[in-house]
């Protein structure tokens, strides 16, 4: 995908399997939103193909799709129920079903009394709930969520996560762009890390963790921590250290080496590196510079 003379996405190939939750990760400007827009026909790719269920996206697919874009908005001057009914009808529901679904949803998210209120009279959090409702109307088979928790307050974030869980349980495929690594670890079956428009890593969460060097050891100790070829010291101070080691490293040998060096170890806890750590490693410089947008 080119923007003028600049190639924004290149050599990118991945698939999302039916029924899975797929995490689309990357720093700002790495091309996530551009890829989603190309997938949904908002941008036209310079080369390559983006297919949903084997065919390019067509708005007629709307009754099977729920899309929460990064740039959010609703018709402001109309009532909540009118806006929701309109989108419901565009998604293939008849008027009565759209109204009934909308009223039930509004009751569920505790703004049932706002059904006839103009959208611009709602608070930001209430508008987020309406937006979310429009996204999941008609129980879509495919949910595409671009930074779904962006701008959501903690209450709405919890609600959103609950709803995503429900949709997953109901069999929906979820494609999610997010910077919240704990959400990814909790929700996603597989992920792709995008950097400079190309895939930096792709696979299950465990596969990606292993690809990025496996393990960290959290250490509480007293004494002088020696250097070693078996590990690198990621951080240390105050009797606490984090060591990075390769997957398959001889953990018992490392512990024995520490003790042989006169270090008194009170905690030795190996674990896989977190996605947060991996994200910082991959995008640390870009994130610090706060580069671009997608």
């Amino acid at each position: 995908m080119d923007f003028g003379d600049t190639t924004v996405i290149h050599d990118l190939s991945f698939d999302v399997r039916r029924g899975e939750t797929f995490g689309f990760l990357g720093s700002n400007g790495s091309g996530k939103t551009t890829t989603l827009r190309a997938l949904l026909g908002i941008y036209r790719p310079t080369a390559g193909r983006l297919l949903i269920d084997g065919t390019p996206f067509n708005p007629d697919y709307a009754n099977r799709l729920g899309y929460l874009p990064e740039e959010r908005g609703l018709y402001k001057k109309e009532s909540v129920i009118d806006v929701m009914t309109y989108f419901g009808r565009l998604k293939g529901l008849d008027k009565h079903s759209a109204q009934t679904w909308s009223l039930q949803y509004l009751e569920r998210v505790e703004i049932g009394d706002k059904a006839k209120t103009r959208v611009d009279k709602l608070s930001g959090g209430q508008q987020q709930k309406v937006q979310l409702g429009v996204t999941i109307m008609n129980n879509p088979e495919l949910l595409i969520l671009d930074e779904p928790t962006k701008g959501f307050d903690p209450v709405n974030r919890r609600l959103l996560m609950d709803i995503i869980d429900e949709q997953r349980a109901a069999g929906a495929t979820v494609l999610m762009v997010t910077h919240q690594m704990e959400e990814v670890e909790r929700l996603c079956d597989r992920i792709i890390l995008l950097k400079d428009g190309a895939a930096r890593a792709y696979g299950t969460v465990t596969e990606v963790q292993e690809e990025f060097g496996g393990l960290t050891i959290t250490l509480d100790y007293s004494g002088r921590l020696p250097t070693s070829d078996a590990y690198t010291i990621a951080s240390q101070g105050g009797g606490h250290a984090v060591l990075s080691v390769d997957t398959g490293a001889d953990l018992a040998g490392i512990l024995r080496g520490l003790m042989d060096a006169g270090v008194t170890v009170s905690r030795f806890e190996p674990r896989r590196r977190s996605l947060d750590d991996i994200f910082v490693e991959v995008y640390g410089d870009e994130a610090a510079r706060g580069e671009g947008s997608d």
Binding site: M1, G4, V8, L40, Y43, R44, P59, D60, E71, L90
Partner: protein
């Protein structure tokens, strides 16, 4: 699905515009203003008529001197007049207050004014002297003619019926002008009243950042077509509201408002003119709508789009600067230019069509030109909306937006 969505968009857009107070304020301003004018005319007419009648019927005593020989003494006596031969004495009597009034009829009242002298009452009541003096002269003259027919003719009565022919066929004249001219009225009303709404129709999605949600839910062509159809329907509602006071005034207050009787049976509907007029109206409406929608897709806000909208409005009024030429010499180069230039063509061609100076082939060619261009502009408008309207808050580069269609994205501007 597409048809379902088209009707959904039409229903939504039509309903929400109808529920906006701004729509009704704009729509009702004209009929309310018309009703106020009608009411004022009605009041004024009845007051004037009553005053004139009262003044004509007012019985005053006066003396008169008639050098014309037209005034009938018997009629004058009925009016309260007494002949005199001494003008100076009669005027002196009026001055002294012993006589109410004196009328001095000259030898030739058709060329010279009747001199009227009277005692001052007030500025409005003083009119009674002149009214009585003229009524006496008019009644005496009619009596002299002794023929109702001559009286009517002498007072400007008598109708002339003109029959004209072109290529051996009878032409409709003024009655043939009215029906096709309604297309021009409809065109102006639609563009002037709905232009801003056309412009804002896609701006709203952009300003509210609904574009991405919409583009993944509905085909942009269906969205824009739905908006245009709903705007057309809104235009019909507005025209019906405008027509209402005219219909009420004509049906209930025609006499009081001095509205001439409209004999619809005399109206001529030339099928060729009506067909060509409809074609040009639809083509012109579609072209202007497509253009305004395209502008809306490019501009970030309605305020930014204002100046371009102004230029389009000027284009539909420019042909009126050469209206006499359009009527008298439709072959003039400037008329031909305005006839074929797409944005001045609807008004010029509809005028020429109404005046019967637009040959069938030209009318059809112009209609085709407008429709083809409208389809092209609409296609571009859809393209600009589709690939340009996600440039929230910034102006879209037309070149870049159109380039996206060829597969090379332009750098997003926001």
């Amino acid at each position: 699905m597409a048809r379902h969505n088209l009707s959904t968009v039409i229903g939504f857009e039509f309903g929400r515009n109808l529920s906006k107070p701004r729509f009704w304020i704009i729509t009702l301003v004209v009929p309310i203003a018309l009703m106020v004018v009608f009411a004022l005319v009605l009041l004024s007419n009845s007051a004037t008529s009553a005053t004139t009648d009262a003044q004509k019927k007012a019985h005053i005593s006066f003396s008169y001197l008639d050098e014309s020989g037209v005034v009938n003494d018997a009629i004058a006596a009925k009016f309260g007049g007494t002949p005199t031969s001494d003008a100076a004495a009669a005027i002196a009597a009026v001055k002294a207050g012993t006589s109410q009034a004196f009328f001095d009829y000259p030898a030739d009242p058709a060329k010279q004014p009747v001199k009227v002298y009277g005692q001052d009452k007030d500025i409005f009541s003083n009119g009674v002297y002149g009214s009585v003096a003229q009524a006496l002269l008019q009644t005496s003259a009619q009596q002299k003619l002794n023929s109702p027919q001559l009286v009517k003719l002498a007072s400007g009565g008598g109708d002339a019926v003109t029959v004209t022919y072109r290529d051996g066929k009878k032409t409709a004249g003024f009655n043939g002008l009215i029906a096709p001219m309604l297309y021009l009225v409809a065109f102006y009303l639609l563009i002037i009243l709905l232009g801003n709404q056309m412009l804002a129709s896609t701006l709203e999605e952009k300003e509210n950042r609904v574009t991405e949600m919409i583009l993944t839910t509905i085909n942009p062509t269906s969205l824009i077509l739905g908006k245009i159809i709903s705007l057309f329907a809104l235009g019909l509602v507005q025209m019906a509201v405008f027509a209402l006071p005219l219909v009420v005034a004509y049906t209930l207050f025609r006499t009081q408002l001095n509205i001439p009787t409209l004999d619809l049976s005399n109206l001529s509907f030339d099928p060729q003119q009506m067909l060509v007029g409809a074609l040009i109206l639809i083509g012109g409406f579609a072209l202007f709508t497509g253009t305004l929608v395209a502008i809306g897709a490019i501009m970030p806000t309605a305020k930014d789009a204002g100046p371009i909208f102004g230029v389009l409005m000027i284009l539909i009024f420019i042909p009126f600067y050469i209206v006499t030429l359009v009527v008298s010499d439709p072959t003039a180069p400037i008329v031909q230019f305005f006839s074929w230039f797409p944005y001045s063509a609807p008004v010029t061609a509809l005028l020429r069509n109404a005046f019967g100076s637009l040959p069938l082939w030209q009318g059809l060619a112009l209609g085709a030109e407008l429709l083809v261009l409208a389809a092209l502009v609409l296609r571009i408008a859809v393209q600009l909306f589709r690939y340009g309207s996600i440039s929230y808050g910034s102006r879209v580069s037309v070149r870049n937006a159109l380039a996206r269609r060829r597969g090379v994205e332009a750098r997003p501007t926001a």
